[in-house]
Subunit: 194 residues, 2 copies
DNA sequence: AAATAATGTTAAACTAGATTAACATCTATT
DNA sequence: AATAGATGTTAATCTAGTTTAACATTATTT
């Protein structure tokens, strides 16, 4: 069982004893998904937070006109879930779908609550993870308001070069909140106008 | 000292013993600000998270063209801070300014860390508060992408009728990510076209 | 290697929302 | 009650980004 990437990740934030690692490992599930499979579907109650060992997912909202709006991409060593649905155990607003074959470690709601009690350090860790996610989300709102699509695209490229390589352009356009045609225009502007 | 609104709020989520309430009260600061005063300024390190007893604040980002972009309003029984700056103790991206005379309870960084250790329940509570804030922030990103300004305005009015009454229109426009002129147009459309 | 599906590009016509600028109303101060 | 400052409205012009539609390229399957 390939828990090492998770334990490495956790040990950057907190120090787990061998006993604590054993408890942790007893309460997690290793799971493989194929490309295009859904980890969460809009309307379902999201049953897990997931740490990605390998692969790539997109989290998106499908609107009434059947348009996909991507909120985030997740790759190795990061988390994916519909956190809103997970914490409130109510139907999900978002879909989480694999865009590559993906291996991940799942923390179910009940197991995680137990883990918080048995290893209080984990509660602190998860608080910090959510804090960071919140901060990133707030900064994104600001970027969407105060920058043009071209500026947002350049920031995205710099911040997530690996994702830019791995993911089709039309999904990046969706993440940026623009059409694929307009992203195409931006790219050709960036090439020609310098 | 007027701690009751805070204790009432906390007791909706967790049950504090009398001893715990005493510890808590020893580590918080009651503070009054006048209209227009800043609780946090962009560039400062944010020293507190603040529970509002009375009054109203706006949290905003000032861009390079000196344009204000409001991320949130906060009123009684809610929190205000630059959480990103607070948790990382790095310079704030946002300003938090009072738009009415405001009384609030401050938790400083060090006091809050101590409180987490002395009253572990508080760590859980703050995790939940941040989780909710994160979820709200994610939903806002989606709304901004998938809805028109008119739709966003109608949702805002329904969700925060009290704030809509208390706050000038041009600030609501900034919160919605549109100009005051366009909000004015939307309002007259809503009156005339039905 | 051909055929199909998935992804990406280009260009013309269109629209939501911005900008500018002039004017209107409301509130606070003297 | 008169003035100044803050807030709100209207209308004309402009622009970033959308829509539509036709075509190009790249993967994938047979």
């Amino acid at each position: 069982m390939n828990h090492k990437p998770l334990l490495d990740y956790l040990n950057e934030y907190i120090n787990l004893t061998v006993d604590e690692e054993t408890i942790l490992i007893s309460k997690i599930i290793l799971r493989n998904y194929l490309k295009d499979q859904y980890i969460v579907q809009q309307g379902d109650i999201c049953k897990s937070v997931n740490f990605i060992i390998s692969g790539c997912t997109k989290t998106f909202y499908m609107d009434l006109e059947s348009q996909e709006h991507i909120v985030m991409f997740s790759i190795e060593d990061w988390w994916t879930s519909d956190l809103g649905s997970f914490i409130t155990q109510t139907p999900a607003d978002f879909n989480v779908q694999c865009i590559e074959n993906t291996q991940l470690i799942q923390f179910t709601f009940d197991n995680l609550e137990e883990l918080y009690t048995e290893i209080p350090k984990l509660e602190r860790l998860f608080r910090k993870i959510v804090e960071r996610a919140f901060v990133a989300s707030q900064k994104r709102i600001i970027r969407n308001f105060s920058l043009t699509a071209k500026e947002r695209y350049e920031i995205f490229k710099k911040a997530h070069p690996k994702i830019e390589q791995r993911v089709p352009q039309y999904m990046i356009a969706s993440y940026l909140g623009i059409t694929k045609e307009f992203l195409s225009k931006i790219k050709s502007q960036l090439i020609h106008n310098q």
